[in-house]
Symmetry: C2
Subunit: 338 residues, 2 copies
DNA sequence: TCTAATACTTGGAGCGCTCCAATCATGACG
DNA sequence: CGTCATGATTGGAGCGCTCCAAGTATTAGA
């Protein structure tokens, strides 16, 4: 009942364990004749290589650990999709660690992977400190996705969030809006850059005085509450740019609650282009981050370190795009104040 | 730069590797004096136990592999939450495998875990065949969550979907609805039971003739399309029970499209009580599955096998509950046909 | 002071596999 | 037919850790 070992396969096939090892690894210099015999013996025994032993002996695991800050966020799932596709193609296996939406959880996950001696680690939406990242980077190749963090120890892949926010604001301004408010993402990853892009672009359009930021936290409830405040101001904004889709849906909810029609009375733009934005019922204009590309690029960077011998840090930035749906439209005709 | 080994720690602390091993495992019979020295040496060296070697030598990994059918579905994330909490408490580490929404992906993930010699595997939303499950169960402890599959080889944890569907229909009937249609989940996990519960309950209320099932696939697009058909029928249903929240949101979209108000013109009930249902903007009446409990119970069952020595299969069923929100309401006054 | 019992420590044989150096087979070639 | 080059196999020394069996302090009791 215990797992059969290579030794047993070797005996049954009447060859050495070394040969079995070669066959299991698909080495080229094995005669077809022997290969077939070994494979047959392995199959009959139900042999399954012991990765632990293999990794220990070879000092490689061909495994990439991916730490997701939050398993609930489908945003990360798509990054994993791209990453995994690339990993599959290169013969690496991918294991996922749950950051449990907390710094401690992320750290634990990283530690687990480090102890497992994975070849490299990718962190998506990491919230741990840069110094903690550098510490991890001292022991493996590390790539951070979706969080800008300049360091010479590890690589990063990001979308240009300042630019993304600019796209959103430009879009709204193009529709005639002037009172454009922002529901921000607090201290979440990318929130600062989006806030900055918003503020800069507003100023750029001479709308600096109209700028209004209400504090959110990337959650639906946060978006809803923030929008509630914003909509209570008179004159109220005609458009709200939310720091992510989830809070944008919160804004939608607040609009419903206030009896405002979208986009007739209020235009809303989200960020991330998640599945949420795509649904008919929400149909959110939003900023698309090429998530699968982010994942793919993250793996490429890792492989450059693992197999290409690169050691200098690379900080890759990808351009976001605007996806127009039905939550944004022309500014409503001014009436009342101003 | 290479990782320091136990050997080096031992030398530095002036003790044997065996003692270091004891300290690293937190064994009780070590003098405080030595323990401190070892810990100090380990710290200075930046020693990190090599889990591969440890697991190989101890023939235990204290690791549970969780295979998620679909990383995008937050439903599974909550199962993992419950499971992980329990695992943390018991000192097991949790690794997640991506089933990539395909049978092949699930099989690969299982194989990876098997090769890693994890102590047990939990599959959430598994779609592979029962025989494939049994094969895996021959090599480790296996628990299947969210999929009924009678077998003597492994355990399952489920909610009673027939009962859940009954709750949904009873709720709608209680509101006066008679023309209650169902958007089903095709061949997805639990879909058959929900369909059955729907049909049974309709008949039970003498509404067998009003029963109408339109084919969905647990996706938003599928729900939308199915609802489109349903709403084109005359007289159209006054309520739709969707097989999951995602398709319920699809139904919502279709209702928007048809200019129907929810719940005034059409009541909608979903299934799963996901975050989607909870959002203000959707506010879906739905059937709650106690997901975290499912995860916790799955781990408990696993531990019973791992540490309790249980070998007989257990099939655990949990009761779902109805969560009332604003997508369902009284039947609109009859007008026109019938 | 001596002995027995208890509390700590340690040597070293594996765990199952990889990988290098060495050996054996084969076939081409002069 | 001997010599080489090339390809196929194998023996065995680790990889870093755990886990006895066995040994050495220490302490309590006689």
């Amino acid at each position: 009942m215990a797992h059969p070992t290579m030794q047993q396969v070797a005996e049954r096939a009447g060859v050495s364990t070394a040969l079995v090892s070669l066959v299991m690894r698909g080495a080229p210099n094995v005669s077809d004749h022997r290969r077939a015999r070994v494979l047959k013996a392995a199959d009959e025994l139900g042999y399954r290589p012991n990765v632990l032993a293999r990794n220990l002996a070879s000092r490689r695991t061909r495994t990439i650990g991916v730490v997701l800050n939050d398993l609930h966020n489908p945003f990360f799932a798509e990054i994993v999709d791209g990453l995994q596709r690339a990993a599959d193609a290169d013969g690496y296996r991918v294991l996922i660690g749950n950051g449990k939406h907390s710094k401690a959880g992320e750290r634990e996950s990283v530690e687990t992977f480090l102890q497992l001696r994975v070849d490299g680690i990718v962190m998506a939406g990491a919230t741990i400190s840069v110094s903690a990242m550098e510490e991890a980077a001292a022991s493996t190749a590390l790539v951070i996705v979706g969080r800008t963090a300049r360091s010479t120890k590890f690589d990063t892949v990001n979308t240009d969030d300042v630019h993304g926010a600019r796209l959103a604001v430009d879009h709204l301004v193009g529709l005639g809006h002037e009172r454009i408010a922002h529901v921000d993402g607090g201290s979440g990853a990318g929130a600062a850059a989006r806030r900055k892009g918003y503020a800069q672009t507003m100023s750029g359009h001479g709308l600096g005085e109209q700028a209004m930021i209400s504090a959110g936290d990337f959650s639906e409830a946060g978006g809803s509450a923030a929008a509630g405040e914003l909509l209570a101001v008179a004159p109220r904004p005609t458009a709200i740019f939310a720091a992510n889709d989830l809070s944008a849906v919160g804004v939608l909810g607040a609009a419903d609650h206030a009896g405002l029609r979208v986009p007739d009375d209020l235009s809303i733009v989200g960020y991330d282009n998640t599945a949420l934005a795509e649904m008919h019922h929400t149909s959110l204009t939003t900023i698309n981050q090429p998530r699968e590309d982010l994942g793919r690029i993250a793996l490429e960077l890792l492989l450059q370190r693992l197999e290409g011998g690169r050691t200098a840090a690379v900080h890759h930035v990808v351009a976001p795009t605007l996806v127009e749906r039905t939550s944004s439209g022309p500014r409503p005709p001014t009436k009342g104040t101003r």
